[in-house]
Structures are given as C-alpha cells and as structure tokens.
Amino acid sequence: MSDIDEGLRSELQRQGIWVTSMQELYNWGRKNSIWPLQFGLACCAIEMIATAASRYDIARFGGEVFRPSPRQADLMIVAGTVTKKMAPQIVRLYNQMPDPKYVISMGACAISGGPFKQGYNVLKGIDRYIPVDVYIPGCPPRPEALLHAFMELQRKIDEQKLTGAGKAEHLDPDQPSEFPVPAFGGHDLEPAANADIFRPMKMERNQ
C-alpha cells in the first residue's frame, strides 16, 4: 500500500514523472518472477505440468522457470499426496529454499490428506510441518485453479510490508525460516505434527 495520494500520482504521471515506493517496486519485481520448485508428487503434478504447457500458460505470470534445485526456487507447489515416508524430504527441501519462500498446497491430498485420509502412510496435510500460504481445493484442481492460486499469491506478495510492525516474515530475524525435520518412528512419524505451526481447533468431546 503506497502512502502517495493517487490523484497526485496520476497527475505526475501525466507530466511524465513516475513515482513509486521502495516497497511497491520490491514487491512488483518479486511477484512477477516467482520461480517454482520442480516438484510434483502425484496426480496433481500432471495438472501442474498441464498448467505449464501451452494451453494454460503459466509463463504469462512469470512462473515458467521451474527450478530443479531448491536453492534457486522461491515457491514450492506441493502437488499431490504427502506420505509419511516423503514428509521428511519435503521439510528438508523447504529448509533448503532461501528466503523469501512460499508454499502452495495444491489438491485435497496436500491440504488434509484428501481421499486417502484413512491411510497409515498418508500425512494428513503438509501444513503439519511447514507453513502454507495458499490452499487449492480440488481433486485434481483444474489448471485454471492453479493459476488463480498463483494470482492470489501475487496479491499476497504485493501486500507484504518491508518495515513496520506487520513486516514480512523473511525480514524479521525472530521468525524461523527452517523447521525441524520429522524422524521415522516405529509406528508413525515423530513428532506427528509440528506444534508451533499446526494448531487445529480443539473440541471437547462429550461422551
């Protein structure tokens, strides 16, 4: 959000003077060149590839450069079912991404386990271990839904502040950017969820 009066800005623009703020410029550059991490798990990955293909072109949004290495990516689209066997690798990949980084949870499986929720090997949602920015429901969500999520993410990035109280997380030295990796236990992952991130509502069960 700019502090400049819009009327003044448009008047100046008509005179050929372009006024902006550091925050706008910074965010504009970042949101139009998001580099996703090339990382698909299951069926939703195919819809992600279809989004990158010629019909639903993700290149129009600046996101066509899928980086294989997490060190060069800003966005991790978790597309597909997250299993407990795969969860430590996903958290490790997230830790290896440099700040600022974003996560889109694509498909019902990545949000909460999806149709495979009754599974001993299925992690009931990737937001148990890493923070998620945008959720896309669907099984699989259409490519247009992924593009809509991309645009939502761009809107979110646009609204990130650089200074002040509500500043963006990657600029705040107290916010963690790496999260502990779960370990394989005898029956389940240990811990089952990261208590700092995953805070579902508690309900008193009256028996």
Partner: protein
C-alpha cells in the same frame, strides 16, 4: 487348451513324490479354482509347472498375500443318531473353528502356450510365530519385488529370497499394515462432528502390541 485342474494336480503328484496338493474350490462365477501346495514341496512343484513341456507356466503375473483371521464355520453334517431305538440319519449343524493363517497366492500364465491362469496358494502355519514360506523368486524373477511387498505388508518371511527387506514402508516401521488386526496410529486432527468409525478411531489410542517374529531385527541393507 489347458488341461483341467484335476489333471494338472494328478500330473504334479505323479511327478513329485510326497507333494500334497489340494484343490481350493472357487464358488463364484469366475471358475478360477486354485491349487493349495504344501510348503515343503512348493519350489519343486513350481519348477515342474514352469518346465513341463505341456504346461510351461513361465510367467508369474501376480503374487499377493491374504490374511485370514480365525473363523468359525457352521456346517450341516449328517450324523447317525439313535432315536426311539432305531438308527436314523439326521442333519446337525456343527461349528468348526478354523485357525487363522496367512496365504501367498500366485497367478501363473504361460506365454509360450498362451494359456492360463493357474493359481497356486501357499499357507503359513499360523499368524504368529510360524509365518515363513519358501520363496519362489529363484523360479520366477517377478516374485522378487512382490514377495518383498508381501513381507512388508503382511509379515511373511520368505526363505531363499535374495534381498528381503521392506519395500513400501520405511525401514524403521514395525507393523504389518495390511493385516486385518492392524490398528492405525491416532493422527487424525480436529473433526467437528465425529461419528461412526471416525469416532471409534478417535476413542482408540494406539496401544503397544507384542512384536511378531523378530520384526525389530530388520535393518536396512546396503
């Protein structure tokens, strides 16, 4: 075309002495009955099925495990009873308790003769300590990964398998998930109105169970 199951059974029994083969009938419309082979002669029978010139079952399509819990079967049996001084035959319902076991089922086809399928079954002695079966990987290479999967999910140790370790679950996992008495860990999150089986699961917490047959000795092989 392929001979009937009875003919194949008699061929096997005449070729391999001591083999005990039973026919497990299949009641349904698919008419796919199977041969139950005893564990001692399983490998010899399998090699016979593969190498016999008329049968040539060189293609093992499917190897899978089945878990049969302890069942109670009611049967109507004709029993001679003495009623009012005379012997009569009456029908009585008897209950037979069949102990539980695990099974490995193999579907075999022949590529050379293009016939099939023939289904063979191997049974373990019980569901606890005696879950060992001979591996048929030396006969059909396709059993290699599938027997590892049966070991991973059901807990049947295959003797003679070149590389028996878990394939789908991680190596530190301790349970055999496809068994009928496996209890899932309680990792469901908040459910606004739990009912039916979700509520049942929410009430059960994971309780430690006695481990089966050296399960904790499995380590990751290089």
């Amino acid at each position: 075309m392929m001979e009937s199951l009875e003919q194949i059974k008699s061929q096997i029994e005449s070729a391999i002495l001591g083999a005990k083969i039973d026919i497990v009938p299949n009641a349904g419309p698919s008419q796919q009955s199977s041969l139950l082979i005893d564990n001692g002669h399983a490998r010899k029978v399998a090699k016979f099925l593969r190498d016999h010139p008329a049968l040539r079952f060189d293609f093992c399509t499917n190897a899978t495990g089945v878990d049969w819990l302890e069942r109670v079967v009611t049967k109507k049996v004709k029993v001679k009873k003495i009623v009012e001084g005379t012997e009569k035959e009456e029908e009585e319902t008897q209950q037979e308790k069949i102990p539980g076991y695990l099974e490995a089922v193999y579907h075999l086809y022949s590529i050379e003769h293009k016939h099939g399928p023939i289904i063979i079954r191997l049974r373990t002695d019980d569901r606890g300590e005696g879950t060992r079966l001979p591996s048929l990987t030396p006969i059909w290479r396709s059993a290699e990964f599938q027997e590892r999967e049966i070991f991973d999910l059901y807990g049947i140790r295959f003797e003679g398998h070149p590389d028996l370790r878990r394939i789908l679950m991680w190596d530190e996992f301790k349970d055999y998930p496809m068994r009928k008495d496996y209890r899932e860990p309680d990792d469901y999150e908040y459910e606004p109105t739990p009912h039916d089986d979700v509520l049942e699961k929410a009430k059960q917490h994971y309780a430690p169970r006695p481990q089966l047959d050296g399960a904790e000795n499995i380590t990751a092989q290089p």
